[in-house]
Symmetry: C2
Subunit: 125 residues, 2 copies
């Protein structure tokens, strides 16, 4: 599901027990350093907005962020809200499960609506 | 081992089969969004330099980058050079091993010297 799109980026939901979105560039780049500098700056501004909204809405214990792209060598930034009682904490979500999750989080659907509205107001060109 | 330091950041080596360094802020911040905006911009400029030097020196198949800090909630950016024949490819380095490594890489020590010299020339204040 795509929850935001402008000329440079789109944001896709990664369905998971924790809030997790992926920021893609519309044009494909292998590495961050292959992106034009202005686009890289805009990417980090977008990331900042997403992190801010995720923290405001979910009050997570920690934000995790990652850019891998080993299978599909195309820049995309994972943004994940982490909680001490999620199944993988304190491991990264690519690591081993540590416990049974006992999460009780506010509506993800509502968060996607909030984020969509906010980004369209403050970020879209 | 610390291979770079200025007033805002330091870079530490993570000993591993692949080239892996961690960029720390000298002052501690829990999340990227807690950093002053100018410092965040400077962090990404430093990241860009590190990525560029890692690509130039090791010619990796992919750069991986991540910010977790779940155990120690303090901003630090992992920068890793990945190769199709490293032990975890295409998984993240926090995932499962996929194969026996058959890496034959140029000297890590020399890379640390190159990176140290370069950052002191182009980035240090």
């Amino acid at each position: 599901m795509i929850i935001y799109k402008d000329d440079d980026f789109y944001i896709e939901v990664e369905p998971h027990e924790v809030p997790w979105v992926k920021i893609f560039t519309c044009k494909e780049y292998k590495e961050l350093g292959d992106m034009p500098k202005e686009l890289r700056q805009r990417l980090w501004e977008l990331y900042d907005r997403v992190e801010e909204q995720m923290r405001d809405y979910f009050q997570p214990d920690k934000i995790n962020m990652a850019s891998f792209g080993n299978m599909l060598p195309r820049v995309h930034i994972h943004v994940m809200a982490r909680f001490q009682n999620d199944s993988y904490f304190p491991n990264p979500l690519w690591g081993e499960k540590t416990q049974e999750s006992s999460l009780d989080l506010p509506s993800f659907e509502e968060f996607y609506r909030v984020l969509h509205k906010y980004l369209n107001e403050v970020f879209a060109k």
